[in-house]
Symmetry: C3
Subunit: 322 residues, 3 copies
């Protein structure tokens, strides 16, 4: 069903809502396209005319300067016209339904919506509403999915490690509430990572994680032992305010990534984090800024991956009349 909604009759990407259910060939196609777009950011003129005259609307129901900025930049580097609409401050106030807001924006001949929403599933709902000339990209929905983040992480791993086969990857932190973790597990499993570990306290590693293809580890040191890649998740303050977690200090004692602990992983281990970092809570500064960290490369790759996904979805749309 996810596959059917996201692809056209020839199996080409129409929307990008989740990595769950997408075939390995399609994920690899995204990575290969992103590879070509990385060059754009390094040129003197960082712009290609692929989406010239297209209208992209960033529809953010949940504030996020960082994610919005990356999509905004990606669209501008593809030469699209971009409009940022923050829905909290907009027609929601006038009592208009989401469906009516969407139909209105679509009637302006919008070509693409990038949607960020606090409710899981919202981008799916939107993709079901829009016509065949519009694409929807999920910029993060509730606890469900953050597929471009997962793909930029996969892209970074492939660049650094050359591929996915035989890798041990540990995802560490609040697995249960993280859309990044969910999407990442799906992406890396599909791309061929066989040893995938979900590391965190029992309260934050969901039961049934094995069914998604990851092995649970409740002990940090066991969890990262011998790993090729460690993906640290951001700890949300609200978890600590709830009863699910002890103090930030205690969390760091148990699950913080330190130089000392890093020695348990492979010598050439790669350290990743989706950002923004909580220094001294989930990761030690020496590690975040160390030679094995690729945290800033992830940001750079994020633009290329988003350009790839935008260009693919837009290129596969039904042609507009004429």
């Amino acid at each position: 069903m996810s596959l059917a909604l996201q692809t056209d009759s020839k199996g080409r990407l129409r929307h990008f809502l989740t990595v769950e259910g997408l075939p390995r060939s399609l994920l690899t196609e995204i990575l290969d396209n992103a590879e070509r777009f990385t060059g754009v950011g390094e040129r003197a003129v960082k712009k290609v005319p692929l989406l010239r005259g297209k209208t992209v609307i960033n529809l953010f129901f949940e504030p996020s300067t960082r994610t919005r900025t990356t999509f905004d930049l990606a669209a501008k580097r593809l030469s699209a016209d971009v409009m940022n609409i923050s829905i909290e401050t907009s027609s929601a106030k006038k009592g208009e339904s989401l469906a009516d807001t969407l139909r209105n924006l679509e009637a302006m001949h919008t070509d693409m919506f990038v949607v960020r929403h606090q409710s899981s599933g919202a981008p799916f709902y939107i993709a079901q509403q829009v016509g065949p000339e519009v694409s929807v990209i999920n910029g993060g929905d509730g606890r469900h999915s953050h597929p471009t983040q997962a793909m930029l992480d996969a892209f970074t791993i492939r660049r650094v490690k050359g591929g996915f086969d035989g890798l041990s990857v540990a995802i560490v932190g609040d697995i249960a509430h993280s859309r990044v973790a969910r999407s990442e597990i799906h992406a890396l499993r599909t791309l061929g990572v066989s040893d995938l570990r979900a590391v965190g306290p029992r309260t934050l590693v969901p039961t049934g994680i094995e069914a998604m293809g990851a092995t649970p580890y409740y002990d940090m040191e066991e969890g990262i032992r011998g790993c090729d890649v460690i993906v640290m998740l951001r700890l949300q303050q609200e978890r600590m305010d709830s009863a699910l977690l002890p103090s930030a200090h205690e969390y760091f004692q148990l699950y913080g990534l330190t130089q000392q602990r890093l020695k348990l992983a492979k010598r050439d281990v790669t350290v990743m984090h989706p950002g923004p970092i909580n220094r001294g809570i989930e990761i030690e500064s020496a590690v975040a800024d160390g030679s094995q960290s690729v945290i800033l490369q992830q940001v750079t790759h994020g633009i290329a991956v988003r350009m790839a996904v935008m260009a693919m979805c837009m290129g596969n749309q039904a042609e507009a009349g004429e």
Copy 2:
């Protein structure tokens, strides 16, 4: 005086502040130009270079994501550089007068201001202040005027009905407080609609409406009987909070457009609404989404009409120095 302020010595459009006082030939010229711009939104590259290198400032003293978005998009599709300035959050705080703010923005070689203001007349004041190289477009002022909305409605009617002669058009709702209704009555009268009806409760249909060329109807069923076009106005919540109206429920009972009532109009009646819709208050969902509704086409036409007005005003400006 409106005519003199809005046109140059050759009668060409310089500013677009109100339809009141503009000759039929000029309104027809706007519609004809809009006809050409509708094609732009349907192309793969939705962009024409007409306003390349021009600076358009959306100067919004009253928040409106929807209207701002349409002007922003129209300007971008004409290749202009667009800046959105929201005055509530801006220099007003620093105690600068409107005149000084304007002179400053004008000194930056701004070519066009799109003005939305809660006070009737503000765009006129601004048009009087600016120099001969600047155009002003009224994006809605107080209860006075919303000329681009009136023209997009006229454009939609002409597209659907082929013209204006012999049509019966009913405008239903809060006529008294609606800038849309005022502008619409002027536009449709000038364009040749002879049977124009203002339908609503006595408290919301202004006395003296006949002088504007419309016939008052206080009974909904009488008002829409035999009509070719019904324009439903949005009911503002604040009217219901005041003593002017009974409850939303009672309003819908008396003036809501239902499928049942729609049968009183002509068989090929066209239903319009400027949006955002209050479903179940002024209009039944089955009618809003029904086969006679052109509500979303109005939105699409809004971009073309705004492009036409912007291109005309800008094309008729005094040439900048050299």
Copy 3:
């Protein structure tokens, strides 16, 4: 040290953080470049392709619609892609450090940051953090510096007076708390103004102003007598709320620029103000709007000067990797 940070090994502008310490030749080069860019604003197509495909981020930690608008416009007229990020409403909330926010934005291949910050020195800190492919422009930091404002004032003086030699220039108002005054004194001294006067109440003229090259005057009439140029500073409301100043009325009595007082200056005196003006507090309307005022020309020149500085910094960046 300011010079070393702001210029490359060949002495060319890399960042524009302060005029303090920059040689006269470099300031003159900025003015000469600005002269060429003034033409762009007067053309039908107000755009040059110099920064096409470059990414400029306006990073505003302190709100300022006016200054942001001028940088936004300048960058757009140079054909750059511009992103406006207001940090109060952004990742600062998520507890990310400024250094991490910057590294992130830099990792997106940003070419230039325009920084406005309430803390003196912030743009310097940022310039030290970024890599060789990024330029930083100071859009105003604390009480320290506002170099583009100083250069647009210098540009305006040179245009009106033909040069700087032999001029008497009075800067009037709250010298002590004004970043404009500080930058202006440095710029005009470097450019050759020999008679530079700092005029204001004792509480607002810093001791040691002579070391900067300006002569203190505590009496308005003495201070402006025989002057070629009078630069009035904006009086901040918060000064009056503190004990540093009497009422606005009393301030105007003592230091307001009136037509009467203006007669004490040279007959062809030029009146300047960085805006926004407090009419009737620091300046009489008849003077602000009078024939000797060049306040609006300053705004126009501000765009040209900012285009010049942006183009120079960007043109002197290390070339990005192939």
